[in-house]
């Protein structure tokens, strides 16, 4: 009962925030619905095409690998949600100090994470069903695939929940032990769903077993809740003593340069730069692995586009996670400390310039992540340059999208660490994808007709991407000046 009361309070708070957001931006739900339906239609069309004969990439995309991907994505989302909603949430002290068992608090928060994400999944599945019926699409996803997918998402969210607590324990040794134990879940999922490819009913059976196991470890994570919460939210850190030199950024005003200095030092000390570069390194390695797993060169009508598109898809994902996400939380994440810039003589534009300049330190990493596949595949130099310029374009566009939405509709909810809700995030990523596609596809098409013109066009598009970021920064400045706090 107490768990339900806590969960109900969470739901009420989230519903009110969502309601306020919708009242503020009345067109947003319509735009979001259009983007959701459009993007799912594209995915279903691609699946329909892949099921026929048009595309023969040679990759083995099986229902099992899709179910595993859903499990893995849900694990990441569950961990991130739990981290901000529970482990790193200072307001949890009000629940912890009540005569409530910590198991009830964990159950309440688990309920919140599950209900928020499963409602989004239900929305997606409902839309997919409507699209399949409406457009008479022939998508090979019948039988036990969908129940297995839902079960994998539930299991992934529960495992992610436990991961967030385990990764927040107070010592590296305890973290490593807990994470190693929980690592059995993704390892088992990989073996059963991808390596052994149990088949439709086998997948359903396996994921159905995974759900209660996931729920059990998530609920058992109350044993580490106190330690994790104290380590992340309650106890101040030891407060490292440092002396440092002030960084100055060329071309920026003195004030923007000062804010750049602050952003870089903060991102470095929070290990955000290292984590971003590690993520991009992982993207490069994953793309290389996918390329090396291909049984042979791609064939079919779109063969020449396939490898560059694969690379661009990986780069897009990397840029979204490293650049867009930071842009999205740029204002929401530091709401309470905004008084510092707002009571000193600094223009909002200078604030955004300082932040954006710091984000751009990641751009070389994004470009580097695009290079392993062209080098392994022995692309001609001009195609390699095209891919690198494409990655550059994606990086700037995704940074611009993050800055635009992060300042247009900043989320000041502590439960999300300044990031928008899942629906908005999805919409933002789709907008970024569309913007990248609009810029890159004409350029690539031209390149495969006339290489010289195509390269020149790609340089122009790379410049345009910089312009997109400059315009988004200019647009964002007045929004910061207009913020009331």
């Amino acid at each position: 009962m107490r768990a339900f009361s806590l969960h109900a309070a969470d739901v009420l708070e989230s519903a009110r925030r969502l309601g306020r957001g919708i009242i503020k931006r009345k067109l947003a739900p319509i735009i979001f619905a259009g983007m959701l339906a459009g993007s799912l239609w594209l995915v279903l069309s691609a699946a329909e095409q892949a099921a026929t004969e048009e595309v023969q990439l040679g990759l083995e995309i099986t229902p099992g690998s899709l179910v595993f991907s859903a499990f893995f994505l849900a694990l990441g989302k569950g961990a991130a949600d739990t981290f901000y909603r529970m482990v790193r949430n200072p307001t949890l002290v009000f629940a912890l100090s009540q005569p409530v068992r910590w198991r009830s608090i964990v159950a309440a928060k688990l309920g919140t994470v599950l209900s928020a994400n499963l409602s989004f999944l239900a929305l997606c599945l409902g839309t997919v069903t409507a699209l399949i019926l409406g457009f008479r699409m022939r998508v090979p996803a019948g039988g036990p695939f969908v129940p297995a997918l839902v079960a994998a998402v539930v299991a992934g969210l529960c495992t992610g929940f436990a991961f967030a607590v385990a990764a927040s324990l107070s010592t590296w040794r305890r973290k490593a032990l807990a994470l190693a134990a929980l690592g059995l879940f993704p390892a088992a999922a990989w073996v059963a769903l991808v390596q052994e490819d149990l088949g439709g009913w086998g997948q359903l059976f396996f994921t159905a077993i995974l759900v209660p196991c996931g729920l059990a470890v998530a609920l058992a994570s109350h044993l580490g809740l106190s330690e994790a919460w104290n380590a992340q939210a309650a106890t101040p850190s030891s407060g490292v003593t440092r002396t440092s030199r002030a960084l100055t950024a060329p071309l920026l005003s003195a004030r923007a340069s000062a804010l750049f200095d602050k952003e870089v030092k903060t991102a470095w000390r929070r290990r955000e730069i290292v984590l971003s570069l590690a993520t991009l390194f992982f993207v490069g390695v994953a793309l290389s692995a996918v390329y090396l797993l291909l049984p042979g060169p791609p064939a079919g009508r779109f063969a020449r586009f396939l490898l560059p598109t694969l690379v661009m898809a990986g780069v897009y994902a990397g840029a979204a996670v490293t650049l867009t996400v930071r842009g999205l939380s740029s204002i929401g994440g530091e709401h309470e400390s905004l008084w510092i810039v707002r009571t000193n003589p600094v223009h909002g534009r200078e604030v955004v310039v300082g932040k954006a300049a710091a984000y751009l330190l990641i751009v070389p990493g994004v470009v580097a992540a695009s290079l392993p596949v062209p080098l392994l595949a022995g692309f001609p130099w001009d195609t390699t340059v095209l891919v690198a310029l494409g990655a550059w374009t994606i990086a700037f566009v995704m940074a611009a999208v993050g800055v635009t939405f992060g300042t247009r509709a900043p989320n000041f909810d502590r439960n999300t660490g300044g990031l928008p809700d899942s629906l908005t995030m999805y919409g933002v990523f789709i907008v970024g994808l569309l913007a990248c596609a609009v810029l890159l596809f004409p350029m690539a098409n031209l390149f495969f007709r006339d290489r010289v013109l195509g390269l020149l066009a790609s340089v122009l598009v790379a410049d345009l991407a910089v312009l997109v970021l400059v315009l988004s920064v200019r647009g964002a400045g007045p929004r910061i000046d207009a913020l009331e706090m």
């Binding site: 101040p236 850190s237 030891s238 407060g239 490292v240 003593t241 440092r242 002396t243 440092s244 002030a246 003195a254 004030r255 340069s257 000062a258 804010l259 200095d261 602050k262 030092k265 903060t266 000390r269 929070r270 530091e334 309470e336 400390s337 008084w339 510092i340 810039v341 707002r342 009571t343 000193n344 003589p345 600094v346 223009h347 000046d481 009331e484 706090m485």
Partner: protein, 248 residues
């Protein structure tokens, strides 16, 4: 212009109102605070003190009326106002991964202070508030009191003509409360203006030249401490506060 500023006070509010939805936080307040004065805003929780300070600090825009600092309108020229003020909010969130010294240098760079002047000013407040031992630690490792001192230091070291302090003694121990009060008195004697909001009537009694008791978004009593006491027929500011606000 200068004459007008002198007449109206360094800080002036004319029929300033601010609403949050249906709640009236500040209701047509008129106020003048002259140069060289320490002015205290007293009031119960939610009375509108913080909202009024935030309007002067350009963090909020009034729905109606005008607020000026040094003759500069806070809405028309917020940058001009920010050059004149130093502000400390009620709960000062800091940049957690910057050290105290880095934070103060950031403020100096944002205000365009020459490096030597900034160093001198920073060292002055570090010595005044006895922060030397912890000034090079990251803010996320600092105690509540040290964070408050750091926020105060960021408003004080560049010696702005107007200081706006929301509950400045929050988290400070009695020793540093005393140091701060003495410093504020001296700062005002040098011709600067200090406006502070506080719940602690003893602080207002000991440091403020004049006080205004804010109740339900309006200034219900205004004057020197003695004037407020005699108007309310009370022997202490605490009693006067209860009489004016209408509490127990």
């Amino acid at each position: 212009m200068q004459g007008s500023v002198r007449r109206r006070g360094v800080l002036a509010a004319r029929a300033v109102s601010k609403r949050y939805g249906t709640i009236v936080a500040v209701d047509r307040i008129d106020l003048d605070v002259p140069r060289g004065e320490v002015f205290g805003l007293l009031g119960s929780n939610g009375a509108g003190k913080t909202t009024l300070l935030k309007i002067f600090a350009t963090l909020l825009r009034p729905d109606s009326g005008h607020a000026t600092v040094g003759g500069i309108d806070a809405v028309a020229d917020p940058m001009g106002v920010r050059r004149l003020i130093g502000f400390v909010p009620e709960t000062p969130a800091l940049y957690e991964k910057l050290t105290g010294r880095e934070f103060l240098h950031l403020v100096a760079r944002l205000r365009g202070l020459p490096a030597k002047e900034a160093d001198r000013g920073i060292q002055g407040v570090v010595d005044l508030l006895h922060m030397e031992a912890e000034i090079d630690r990251e803010a996320d490792g600092l105690s509540r009191g040290m964070r408050q001192k750091l926020a105060l230091a960021s408003a004080m070291f560049h010696r702005p003509p107007v200081l706006l302090l929301d509950e400045p003694t929050n988290g400070l121990d009695p020793r540093f409360t005393k140091i701060l009060k003495e410093w504020l008195r001296g700062y005002a004697r040098d011709g600067n203006t200090v406006v502070l909001s506080t719940h602690v009537t003893q602080v207002a009694e000991s440091v403020c030249d004049r006080v205004g008791i804010v109740s339900e978004g309006r200034v219900a009593a205004l004057g020197t401490v003695r004037e407020v006491l005699s108007a309310s027929g009370s022997s202490s500011l605490e009693d006067a506060f209860s009489v004016v606000v209408g509490g127990p």
